[in-house]
Amino acid sequence: MDINNHDYTILIVDDVDANVLLLRLLISKAGYKTMTALNGRDALEAVNKQKPDLILLDIMMPVMDGHEVAKRLKETPEYADIPIIFLSALNSTEDVVQGFKFGAADYISKPFNKDELLTRINHQISLIESKRIIQRQTEELRKTIIGRDKLYSVIAHDLRGPIASIRMVMELLISEIKPENIGEDMYELLTMANRLTDDSFSLLDNLLKWTKSQTGRLNTVFQDNVDVMNLINGVVEVQKSVAALKKVKINVIGSTNRIARIDIDMAKTSLRNLISNAIKFSYENSNVDIVIEEAEDRIYIAVRDYGTGISQDNQEKLFKPDIHFTSYGTDNEEGSGLGLLICNEFVRRNGGTLKFTSTEGEGSTFVFDIPTATSLEKK
C-alpha cells in the first residue's frame, strides 16, 4: 500500500511549547502536514475548522484536558472516527487504560522515543488508508450493484410486456391453425417460434423475480388454505403442452388432499422451473415423473427425469449465485442459470428445502417440500 504522507494532517495538542515544537519538527520531517493547539478548547476549535486525520493529544492541559477533548470528539459523529494517540507523561497502567477508555487508538509515554513515535503514527495512518480504501471499494460496489439491478429490472420490465403479448398471439395461432392449412414445414416453424417465445417469457419472468428477491423488493405473500394438489395440477397442465413439443410425457404419481400456507406464485414458479428443466434435459419419448408424497407435517414433491443427468463437477456449481452455470438441453435449449437459484430461494421462503440427486447419463431428481399441518387437512 503506497501512502503519501503529504495527504495526511496531524493535529498536535499540547500546552508545552517545547513539546509542540519538537513534535511538529519530527512529524513535518516525516512528510505529514501539521496543525497545533495549546489546550483542549483550541483543539476542538481547530478540528471544527479543519478535520485532521490523526490527533496527538496531551492529557494534562489547562482549560480542557485531553480526556474531555477525546470524549467530546467521540460524541460527535462527524469526528468520532478521528484516531487519537494520547501522548502523556502520565504513564501508569491506570492512566493508559483510562486513555483507551476515552477512545484512544494508541498511547505514547513522554518523554517519547522518536522512532517509536513515528512508527506508531505511521501505523495509524496505514489503518486510516486501509479503511478509506475499503470505504471507496464498498461505495463502488454498492453503485455497481444498484446499476446492475436497475439494468436487470428495466430489461425485465420493458421486455416482459411485449413478449407476453407475442406469447398470447403465438398460443392463439398454434391453437387455431391446423398443420394441413399452412403445411408441415410452416407449422413446425410456428411451433418452434411458440416454444422460443414461451422460453423467453419464462426467462424474463425469472429475471424479474430474481432481481426483486435479491434487492429486497419481493415480499413473500402467504395465503392460507392453498390446495396443494390443485396447484400442482395447474402447473403440470401448462407444462404438458411444452413437453408434448418434445414428445416427453409428464406423469403425476401420488396425490394429496392437504392444504398449506404458502406464497402461491413462488410455489408455482418453483415447480414450473423444475419441470421445465426436467423437460429440457429429457430425451424425446421419455418420461418426467412428478411424485407427491405426504409426511407428517409436510408434502414432498419430486420432479424426476430420465435424461442427461448432471456431472459431479456441475452438481457442485448448482445453487451458487456467484457462479453462472447453465447448460444446453437435449434439443439445444438455452438456459439462463437463474431457474434453480430462484427455486432454491422461493422454496426456502415457503419454509421448505430443495434437494437433488443426479447421475450422469441416467437423469436427475429434484425434490422440495412444502410445510403443512395435518390439522389443516382439507375437509
Binding site: A18, L21, L25, K29, A89
Partner: protein, 117 residues
C-alpha cells in the same frame, strides 16, 4: 554547541536526547532550550507556591509539565525526584526541602543553558 561546564557541584545537562530528537538541528535545539529557560522559572514558582499552600493538584500539574521539559534539556538527575513528588506529594513530610533541592539544580542548569544560546 558546547556541553561542557566547569561547575562540579551539579550534574551537567545532557543534551544528547535533544540532539537525537532534532537530528542535531542547532536552531531547533536552541529554540527548545529557550522555551525551557522561559518556562522553568514559572514552573519553579508554581511548585514553590503550591507546596507552601499545600495545593497538591497544582503541584502535580507543575511537576507534570516539568518532567518532560527537564528530560528534553537533559537535567535527568532530578527527574526521578520530580516524578516522586508528582505522584505522592501528599505524604511527603520533607516536601519543601525536596523542592528546594530540585530548584537549586534547575537554577544551576538554567545558568549553564543560558551560556549555550
Amino acid at each position: 554547541m558546547q556541553d561542557s561546564i566547569d561547575n562540579q557541584k551539579y550534574p551537567i545537562p545532557d543534551l544528547s536526547y535533544l540532539r537525537e530528537l532534532t537530528d542535531g538541528d542547532e536552531d531547533a535545539m536552541k529554540e527548545i532550550i529557550s522555551i525551557f529557560l522561559d518556562e522553568a522559572p514559572k514552573l519553579i514558582k508554581m511548585m514553590k507556591e503550591s507546596a507552601e499552600a499545600k495545593d497538591h493538584e497544582k503541584l502535580k500539574f507543575a511537576t507534570h509539565k516539568l518532567i518532560t521539559q527537564l528530560t528534553y534539556v537533559g537535567v535527568n538527575s532530578i527527574v526521578p525526584e520530580v516524578k516522586l513528588i508528582n505522584s505522592g506529594s501528599v505524604n511527603m513530610k520533607d516536601l519543601n526541602e525536596r523542592i528546594e533541592r530540585i530548584i537549586l539544580v534547575i537554577e544551576n542548569s538554567i545558568t549553564y543553558l543560558k551560556g549555550l544560546i
